[in-house]
């Protein structure tokens, strides 16, 4: 009697433990999903468009240091360029390294734009870095990154 009872308890304990592990595993999966984008994946996403090694300079990101609401963070990205037929910004890619997906937007310009500057509003799920890569018409790449602290994430649950 006592034996069977203890074995029942043992089973229960084992089940509880298994449940605990199950939950931990689920939590692990969720955490992994939430942190799907990493600085590496952001770099990979950018490298699809911008092949080569970018240097710093020319590009700048204007964004609030602390964004209270991650649902719409105003961001201005600009690239120094004359925007003439000889020298202009061909493309501009923006990525965020802490969102479920790293990509944010990519733009392409012609000299007719006159100025390579765009403003947009971005969803940020957590405190993370925004990365912008500019590609000039001669193939030169420029990169900049900027951290934005996010109080309330904005990707929905």
């Amino acid at each position: 009697m006592t034996h069977s009872r203890s074995s029942t308890l043992g089973r229960r304990a084992a089940l509880a433990r298994a449940g605990g592990y199950g939950l931990a595993a689920i939590a692990g999966v969720l955490a992994a999903r939430d942190a799907a984008a990493t600085p590496d994946s952001a770099r990979d996403w950018l490298s699809v468009f911008a092949k080569g090694s970018p240097q710093s300079g020319k590009v700048s990101i204007k964004a609030p240091e602390i964004a209270e609401n991650g649902n719409a963070v105003p961001v201005t990205v600009s690239v120094e360029s004359e925007m003439t037929e000889k020298s202009y910004v061909k493309a501009l890619h923006v990525a965020a390294d802490g969102n479920p997906n790293p990509g944010v937007a990519s733009y392409s310009f012609t000299p007719l734009a006159g100025k390579a500057e765009v403003q947009l509003r971005v969803r940020l799920s957590q405190t993370q870095k925004l990365v912008a890569v500019a590609e000039m018409n001669d193939g030169a790449l420029f990169v900049v990154s900027r951290e934005v602290k996010v109080t309330i994430g904005g990707c929905g649950g």
Partner: protein
């Protein structure tokens, strides 16, 4: 739902030759990210404005590819250098290939 979607454009209609004109645009679009779940715990399918295109007198000015990380009612501003009077044509296209266009005339004095 799609009936409520309409683009808004703010741009000066008179400019000097060679002036850089700032174009501010916004589309009222939900930009469903594909990450959110409904009450039953099912993922709401992604539906975003994924492409934007701007031409002036038929000449390409800029275009954009947007990802789900762009906010609801996507706001976008950019510049165009105007050397002659013309029409600024903006086109937005969403995942369902539905598109919206807006045309604004700019007069160069």
């Amino acid at each position: 739902m799609s009936e409520d979607i309409k683009p808004r454009v703010r741009v000066q209609t008179k400019a000097k030759k060679g002036e850089l004109v700032e174009v501010k645009t916004l589309v009222t679009h939900p930009m469903e990210s594909g990450q959110r779940k409904n009450a039953d715990g099912k993922l709401i399918p992604r539906l975003i404005v994924s492409a934007f295109d701007a031409t002036y007198n038929g000449k390409q000015v800029m275009s954009a590819k947007l990802e789900p990380a762009v906010s609801t009612n996507p706001y976008l501003s950019f510049f165009v250098r105007v050397d002659e009077s013309g029409t600024l044509k903006l086109t937005w296209t969403d995942d369902n290939k539905q598109s919206w266009t807006s045309e604004t005339k700019i007069e160069v004095a």
